[in-house]
Symmetry: C2
Subunit: 115 residues, 2 copies
């Protein structure tokens, strides 16, 4: 499949010696977002998020095999992700189903935009 390259548009509006707009993220936002990023700072959790982001709601029983970890380990990682607000869970019958929180992932994507 061919990939069409779009022309890169250089943002040029920078006059000589334009003062830098040194406005970082607000501290309160940085606190919340950095906790979410920290939760993704583990390969198993990141793989779980990638699964859920692509698959919708998934029973915890179907998450162990793709990441090659025990149900106990997977449940622990899902709790960390849940605490960070990245996933939600719902009890269906005897199983717990997990879903991604799209707005949480979007908040992280937005923090990674470059000028």
């Amino acid at each position: 499949m061919g990939v069409k390259e779009l022309p890169l548009v250089q943002v040029t509006g920078v006059e000589c010696c334009a003062p830098l707009a040194l406005e970082p993220l607000a501290e309160a936002d940085a606190e919340v977002l950095s906790e979410r990023f920290a939760a993704l700072g583990d390969p198993v959790r990141l793989r779980l998020v990638s699964l859920l982001a692509n698959a919708g709601a998934v029973c915890v029983c179907d998450l162990t095999e793709p990441v090659g970890r025990s149900q106990g380990t997977v449940s622990h990682h899902l709790k960390v992700l849940s605490k960070a607000g990245l996933v939600t869970s719902e009890k269906r019958g005897r199983n717990i189903w997990y879903s991604i929180v799209p707005s949480a992932l979007e908040s992280l994507r937005a923090a990674l935009v470059t000028r």
Copy 2:
């Protein structure tokens, strides 16, 4: 016997009850990306990244005031970001200037796309 190449087809799985394509990120990718996410798991580092993402190259001497930390602390955090491949540095005269690595941020954004 020749090998017939099949066209790459986007798996959209929108039919009723489509089986879940439980294909997480490859382990090797998850290792690299989770290290980058972990580097962002600190509010000061996240604020430094947001500054650099918006400002282009910035002298380390101009990064202390916006995040309200000493130069030593800022330098430490920049080293962590540099080790994770998120920023690069360049010596100009007596100062070190830091820039974001746009492709690294893009790799993180791509890992956060929801279906």
